[in-house]
Subunit: 337 residues, 2 copies
């Protein structure tokens, strides 16, 4: 600090920094994914246990991770999910990765944040099929859980607010920084190939970026599925209309993230499309009245693959054993006992 030579260079360095920053991100519509900053590690650990906890379901078999599998890009890689008693879910499971960067949760945005979202599937009869009351009784029955709640929240009270808060806190750590595209955004011009750069240029020039922008390359707005032409599907979901009641919100969905899109097939809210090529063609056609030739499509695919970031490294939690006070799972209705 007292070295006059060092100080002399500060204005130069500062001006270089400003121009480099401006140069690296000249009004780019996509910003980087920042690494998770963990300020409450014990809450994260509790949340991780609950995320992997199948005893939050009626059957004792389904956990958050069942449909948002952290081995598979935070999804189940199925068109729609398998729920309690193998019921078929109504819509494609969105990825949990980078989900905190979305403006709201679920395809129709009916939950304002991850905490509110986490309460949904536990009590949804076609998902985990449990009740919040039984979920609380289950967690509260195990002294090892209660001790963690006491440590994290300052009292031994187990309630759905705390359960979902802990799960959401864990989920906020599930970000995927350091994709090659982010390395490029940070200034490493060689981090991505010429094809990726060309794909990114197309992504901007053709208008994809008008919906898919921000750090998650999506999740910043709602948009009608089928702006130019209708989207043909057997899926009955009506999107935002279910939340707002407005007819103008029919088929309006939250724009999904394109981060890790290589891993989160099949695509669209109905999970009907399995390849990036087909997804690109459909989007271009029904949303933008655009077409991509074979070379352009390949470049777009390369660009999309450059959005795959470092996946969370998760050590499987060890869950405490049930005891005589723990509600018993009811996997098969005929076996109620």
């Amino acid at each position: 600090m007292s070295n006059p030579l060092a100080w002399a260079s500060v204005p130069v360095a500062l001006s270089l920094f400003v121009s480099l920053t401006a140069c690296a991100q000249p009004q780019e519509p996509i910003s980087i994914i920042k690494p998770a900053v963990i300020t409450a590690p014990e809450k994260v650990e509790l949340g991780k246990m609950l995320y992997f906890e199948p005893r939050l379901s009626m059957s004792g078999y389904i956990s958050c991770n069942s449909c948002h599998n952290l081995s598979m890009g935070g999804v189940d890689a199925l068109p729609t999910s398998i729920g309690h008693h193998w019921q078929e879910g109504p819509i494609n499971s969105p990825t949990v990765l980078n989900a905190d960067l979305m403006l709201a949760q679920f395809w129709d945005g009916r939950a304002k944040d991850l905490k509110e979202q986490a309460a949904g599937p536990i009590a949804n009869p076609v998902e985990m099929g449990y009740t919040h009351e039984l979920a609380i009784d289950t967690v509260a029955s195990m002294p090892a859980y209660v001790a963690r709640f006491e440590k994290v929240y300052g009292s031994s009270d187990v309630n759905i607010d705390r359960i979902t808060d802990a799960i959401a806190t864990f989920e906020k750590t599930l970000v995927t920084p350091n994709s090659t595209f982010d390395q490029y955004l940070l200034g490493d011009k060689n981090a991505i190939s010429a094809d990726v750069k060309a794909g990114y240029q197309l992504f901007k020039d053709k208008g994809c970026v008008s919906c898919h922008n921000g750090p998650a390359v999506g999740g910043t707005m709602y948009m009608k599925m089928g702006v130019i032409k209708p989207f043909h599907t057997n899926n009955p979901a009506e999107g935002r209309k279910a939340v707002t009641g407005r007819n103008s919100d029919k088929f309006v969905f939250k724009v999904p993230t394109l981060r890790n899109i290589e891993l989160t097939y099949p695509y669209f809210h109905d999970g009907s499309v399995w390849t990036l090529e087909e997804a690109i063609h459909t989007m271009a056609d029904i949303q933008l009245a655009q077409q991509f030739n074979e070379k352009e499509t390949a470049q777009m695919v390369e660009f999309l693959k450059s959005l795959t970031g470092d996946q969370p490294q998760v050590t499987l939690p060890l869950l405490p054993p049930s005891n005589a006070n723990t509600p018993r799972p009811v996997p098969f209705s005929s076996h109620n006992k």
Copy 2:
């Protein structure tokens, strides 16, 4: 080696070692669980990926870990398992922990080792519901898997022999050393309480140990369920009879391990008993014509809990994405496409 003083002490040290060893394990019927020695880490990693691979099932939803959950003592903690299309499994899922120490696999011992076992559920219509051919096609479709097979096995050939060999190699690492009981066996007389010691004495005196012995405290032999009195159950499993065809093998099962028994409820091949207290009473009654009073039962429970060892620390594997060549999962029959 050339230090004459060091050499002079070898006979003394050797004799001390021998007497300590003899002293620490004076003909104990239970021996310690040894930590895993990993000689082929890349094969273990490949096996771990396949162990967590839901695309080895028809639905794309069920993996080995679904019923042998490494967050929960290597079991699903259900009476019998949930299989493809929520079918009810025929028998309680045995723990994968320390399973390599068993004389054979499955309750009826129909698989001679873990490798042979691993092939079963993949193709069992009520478990993962797939076929070996489709499992091979699935794995072989993903370049990241093929590269690992090449590295581990010296050629890119993906076959069921290699798939199950890799899974078994991973499973062999799933041991639980360092229980307080093993610390006691290794000479730390204060590692277990007076109640645990009393429970262990009862375990030996009452005859439990005649079946539950060896490092896994079980798995060294087959025994009839109901030696003294019949075991009442609705479960139709006939045990070894299904393998040997002999009537004398009816209701003869592999003696299950008692390692980590605190975590592997519910108990018995039909999963009908949820507490260690009830399991102890039933076993004493129908196998040994014995009874335990309340204090003795509590001591037995304490002894059994002392058999819980260090659980494997498993980092969740990251699975490669499917591509256009990967067989698509068929979670719902009506959606065959």
